[in-house]
């Protein structure tokens, strides 16, 4: 091994060395424990960084400073937030279903952490190398709906129940395009194993990598996946379940203190894991973006891409207004779902056609339905400059 490979595999070697310190019967358990503890430490730390990044970024987008009191430039704000959440009184409504009310945030966080088991965070760096890793991710992710329902129902609050129903309806609707757009990538890669999907995208033409996002079907599938992922993680512009103006805070309205922080954590960790799946499926996982950057350790590439995705999410949140409920459902069922079916057809063209014809065919199969469906969504309305009746 040369120094580049050492840098790449340093965490894998470190784990092997740590495990070898223990007697043979304990080694499997210790190996699992080290991996789990690492995941539980790293991603909540990333969550803390993201909260300050988000508040600062949104502040800048909205032409204000954002938090700047705690520490230099306000960078210790997450610590202050954490202390506040821990020391706050834990209120449970008198009529609430105590057990279910307690279990909901715990279950949400457990489910969200389980999804991290299959994510390849670097070369040889996945907790479990599962044969159907992607299926595991979606299966675990679908259980979050139960946790959301538990939170909304057990609070005995109509706003909480409304928020939970909104969240579940939205998650079920957007789960379909999410999975169908992932199917396109699975068809081309020919495997459900996330590490093999990354390996399928290895290699470079010139300096550009063979990522799926650089193909017509891949770009369309990636955009569909990201939009569905935003809706799945209940983030703006799809944050109707939170809807501060009409249902106050949605399903976690009756939670305070650290239980609320757990919901917050679960939401962000869900966003990270689904971004990581998008990176794995379409952005080449842990491979470097250019051939001359191949010396960068794989985990740095992965986390770099993850932070870039998070920044995009923050940018979208600061830019787009919230959708209305009917717009949300129409968009899911009349645009996203048919479009994802056309993306699958486009991937088939890419799989079976040759050389330039595959580019032309898969481009046409994606672009024509896009224009057609987009025209349908516009509903004969014309885009023109907005007229403000009262503000001017």
């Amino acid at each position: 091994m040369n120094s580049v490979q050492y840098a790449d595999q340093i965490f894998v070697l470190l784990k092997q060395w740590l495990v070898s310190l223990f007697p043979a019967p304990l080694q499997t358990a210790v190996g699992i424990l080290i991996t789990v503890v690492t995941i539980i430490c790293v991603f909540p730390a990333l969550f803390a960084v993201t909260t300050i990044l988000e508040r600062k970024g949104l502040g800048r987008i909205q032409n204000r400073y954002g938090p700047n009191r705690v520490g230099p430039f306000g960078i210790f704000q997450p610590i202050a937030d954490g202390v506040k959440a821990l020391t706050k009184e834990d209120l449970v409504p008198a009529n609430a279903d105590k057990i279910v009310h307690f279990l909901a945030p715990v279950m949400l966080v457990i489910i969200v952490f389980l999804a991290y088991a299959v994510l390849p965070m670097g070369r040889n760096m996945a907790a479990v190398n599962m044969d159907c890793g992607l299926l595991f991710f979606f299966a675990i992710g679908s259980a979050t709906e139960v946790a959301v329902f538990m939170a909304g129902w057990s609070s005995r609050n109509k706003y909480a129940l409304l928020g939970a129903m909104r969240a579940i309806a939205q998650m079920i609707s957007y789960e379909i395009p999410l999975m169908l757009s992932a199917v396109a990538a699975i068809m081309i890669a020919g495997t459900l194993n996330l590490q093999q999907i990354v390996e399928q995208q290895a290699g470079y033409s010139g300096i550009l990598p063979h990522w799926y996002v650089f193909t017509p079907w891949g770009l369309a599938a990636f955009l569909l996946f990201i939009i569905s992922a935003t809706a799945e993680s209940n983030r703006s512009p799809f944050d109707l379940p939170e809807g501060e103006s009409e249902i106050i805070a949605g399903y976690y309205i009756e939670y305070s203190g650290f239980k609320f922080a757990l919901f917050f954590l679960g939401e962000y960790l869900g966003m990270f894991s689904i971004s990581a799946i998008a990176i794995t499926l379409f952005l080449g996982g842990w491979s470097a973006p250019f051939s001359f950057l191949a010396w960068i350790p794989s985990y740095l590439c992965f986390f770099g891409k993850l932070v870039a995705m998070i920044c995009c999410f923050i940018w979208v949140r600061g830019t787009l207004p919230r959708l209305r409920q009917d717009q949300l459902m129409n968009f899911a069922w009349k645009f996203m779902l048919p479009m994802s079916l056309f993306v699958i057809a486009s991937a088939v063209c890419w799989r079976y056609a040759e050389s330039w014809q595959r580019w032309a065919l898969s481009l046409v199969v994606v672009a024509v339905p896009y224009l057609w469906l987009g025209h349908g969504m516009m509903n004969n309305r014309k885009l023109e400059q907005r007229v403000y009746r009262y503000a001017e």
Partner: protein, 170 residues
């Protein structure tokens, strides 16, 4: 009996018992969800990775939510207190025993039990995909048509017909 069988089996039995005994209907649904998850664990423990994950995806992710919606829309979550045993518990008991005996008879007489000794690791997901697309493509297509018909039927049932309603109201 290994630990990988015992733990899911205990979860499954507790979930099933709770789903029968609990008074509140929503609690019963949650206990039933636990049972579904226990089944998924059992399948995973038996080496049927694909089946276990699909069980989790379909039953916990979709069917449990469907039951929840049904319970809430029919007002079952509101009326909390009710008797554990319904007045017609004996008929139900006889019926369930008959179903159990029928299923048990079918399983013991089937040819599956004689092949149970084959190793479970010989069925990867890719093989299931291959078989579904080659040997079993016709059943797959028929199932697809059936589900599409069911979806269209659901839409037809749910769709509102504003023109007829306005005529009637006039």
């Amino acid at each position: 009996m290994t630990l990988s069988f015992l733990i899911p089996a205990i979860i499954l039995l507790i979930g099933a018992a709770a789903a029968n005994v609990l008074r509140n209907l929503v609690h019963c649904v949650l206990a039933l969800t636990l049972t579904f998850a226990g089944f998924a664990l059992l399948y995973l423990g038996l080496g049927a990775e694909f089946l276990g994950l699909v069980q989790l995806l379909v039953y916990v992710g979709a069917i449990a939510i469907l039951i929840v919606f049904t319970v809430l829309l029919t007002g079952g979550g509101v009326q909390g207190e009710r008797h554990v045993l319904s007045p017609r518990w004996f008929q139900g008991f006889v019926l369930s025993v008959l179903v159990f005996l029928l299923l048990g008879y079918g399983i013991t007489k089937s040819s599956f039990t004689t092949h149970a000794a084959t190793s479970v690791d010989s069925y990867p997901v890719s093989l299931i995909g291959d078989r579904l697309m080659t040997n079993y493509s016709l059943p797959l297509e028929i199932l697809g048509v059936l589900l599409t018909a069911a979806t269209i039927g659901g839409v037809v049932l749910a769709i509102r017909e504003p023109r007829q309603q306005t005529k009637e109201s006039e």
